[in-house]
């Protein structure tokens, strides 16, 4: 899986690439508009992470260029601007997703995962891991060919974990993922614990192995080979 990170902030680009490395992800960088334009002209990527504020140009122009060349690369806009106008114009120009800084790397990884899934395995959107089978389109989960019923939040969590295989994810990160903007306004993050506990129980009861591990008391990790 080739990923192009178009980002002028080198520290950010380094962190992203470090987090994404392993799990088949190969990262390339472009820190300027011109650099990015050259790269997309000669190569194609599974996913492009695009910062729209670049020192020598606007990232939205890169999107236009991609569209003009009819490239099928998945694009996630990463922006510090939380402006609705930008979001709308970005998505209209063909971006697949929009993430506002600051974000968690696990959130980014989960979104990259689902975009690559969508782009590459068009109709067979099924993730398999031994006895576990997840159908992303139908939003169903089955274990040993037996369907189990998950709530929307539990399904969402499962995809998040699977998209962040072998990574430790903290409870506060999950709280942000689940409740969006107002996670920190709530006193405690017990609701995360409740959802994870239910998910674990449902998977285990249906005969699934313990892929979801608790780390350091409050962190979680989806282990798979």
């Amino acid at each position: 899986m080739k990923i192009l990170i178009i980002e002028d902030e080198t520290e950010l680009a380094k962190s992203i690439s470090e987090y994404l490395s392993g799990e088949n992800y190969l990262c390339e960088f472009a820190s300027t508009y011109n650099d990015a334009m050259n790269k997309i002209e000669f190569f194609s990527y599974d996913c492009i992470l695009l910062d729209i504020m670049l020192p020598d140009g606007n990232g939205l122009t890169i999107l236009e260029e991609l569209k003009r060349q009819n490239k099928q690369d998945g694009v996630i806009i990463i922006s510090a601007k939380n402006a609705l106008d930008d979001k709308i114009s970005g998505l209209q120009l063909g971006a697949d997703d929009y993430l506002t800084k600051p974000f968690h790397l696990s959130e980014l990884m989960a979104r990259i995962y689902s975009i690559i899934r969508r782009k590459q395995f068009n109709n067979s959107n099924v993730i398999k891991q031994n006895e576990l089978q997840i159908d992303l389109l139908a939003k169903t989960v089955s274990i040993n060919n037996k369907t189990i019923v998950l709530t929307k939040k539990e399904f969402d969590l499962l995809i998040y974990f699977v998209g962040n295989k072998n990574k430790v994810i903290s409870k506060s990160t999950l709280a942000e993922h689940l409740s969006g903007d107002f996670a920190d306004m709530l006193d405690n993050h017990d609701f995360v614990y409740a959802h994870v506990k239910n998910l674990k129980k449902k998977l285990y009861d249906a005969g699934c192995e313990h892929y979801l591990k608790t780390v350091y008391g409050t962190g979680y990790k989806w282990e798979s080979n």
């Binding site: 902030e9 520290e11 950010l12 962190s15 992203i16 470090e18 987090y19 504020m53 510090a80 601007k81 939380n82 402006a83 609705l84 506002t100 800084k101 600051p102 974000f103 968690h104 790397l105 696990s106 990574k167 430790v168 994810i169 903290s170 409870k171 506060s172 990160t173 942000e176 409740s179 903007d181 107002f182 996670a183 920190d184 306004m185 709530l186 006193d187 017990d190 609701f191 409740a194 780390v215 350091y216 008391g217 409050t218 962190g219």
Partner: protein
Amino acid sequence: MKPLLSRTTKPFIIYVLIILVISIPVYYFVVDAIWKGELDEHNTTIARKTAYEFNNLKLSDAALEKSIALWNQIQPGTDIEKIPFNHVKKDMFFTVEKQKTFASKPEIERYRCLKKVIYIHHAPYLFTVETNIEESQETVAAIALITVFFFVLIVVGLLFLNKKLSTSIWKPFRHTLDQLKTFNLNNQTKIEFDNTDISEFEELNQSLSKLIEHNISVFKTQKEFTENASHELQTPLAILKNKLDILLQDEDLTEKQYQITEEMNKALTRSSRINKNLLLLAKIDNSQFDNTEIIYFDRLLHQSMEILQEHFELKNISVNENISSSVKVNGNSSLTEVLINNLILNAIRHTPPDGSISVTLTDSLFEIANSGTEKLNTDLLFKRFSKLSADHSGSGLGLAIISEICKFHQWKINYTFENNTHIFSVMI
């Protein structure tokens, strides 16, 4: 509300009415005085002419006496009377009113009289003559009638002219107004005013153009500033957050170190939230939100309640909903969503476990009440970064944002504490 022209018309008409009413007695006195003057002149002429004619007849004294007696009998309204020399007086002019003697109906007639001494055959005679003049009430009535007629003419003319003028003269003004109504600072579309040859309107258009240009440029700078500030602050926060995520993946991490990164994570989330909230406040202050959407208030409320349902359950809070259906208001829906979420979250945070929250929505009121123990400090309530409780997890901006959103929509927010219940009510 009345159009400007009708406002000026009314005082004009009242002014004309007053002037015309005053003019009625003035006209009467003037006409009466002219009339009397003319009649006095006429009476004097008759007296002189009579004396001249008698002298010209060259009658004997006896014949003269007879002629005068005859004159007095057949000449109505005049009387000649011999007077001694020592009774000679100055001419007297006066008006009398008396009953008409020969008419079938009794009618008051007005007469202008002259008593003048004339000399016939060098002897003094008192000549009295009365001439009928128009009765005063008839004159006044005629003048009043004519005045009313002219008044009606003026009013009809004025209204007609007003109607004509308001469509033509005010046309450039109306155009300017239409342009202003469609102007939206958010879209920053330039406004082109029509050329007009009326100096006031031209001046108005020029001032408006200047004002709008200035506003657009200020708006742009402010918008750029908030966006740049956002960029500058969000990027280092993003770097920190991402570094922590990477640190978390370190296999040699101890549980203590993990707890520290988790605390840092929470603090970072809070600071990025404060940053986002400050930007939101700046944006509301700069009116960067469109307020012309139709908001389906009840739908937004149901949506928020559903999302936050699990948090009610987690704290075992009983919820009492009283939400009217199809409550529609004008404003900005994303800001309204923020308002609703903030108010409900606020209530959840400050409700003790096993407490209760009640949510009420009617066509004009949105109210959230939650159980509590102590009244909040109303002076600090809606101030930015004011600490109302010992709990430090909030950004300190939630209520300030609520208040700004209410101001933006021109809604009124109110806080009361009754029967151990905090009540926040928004008049929408």
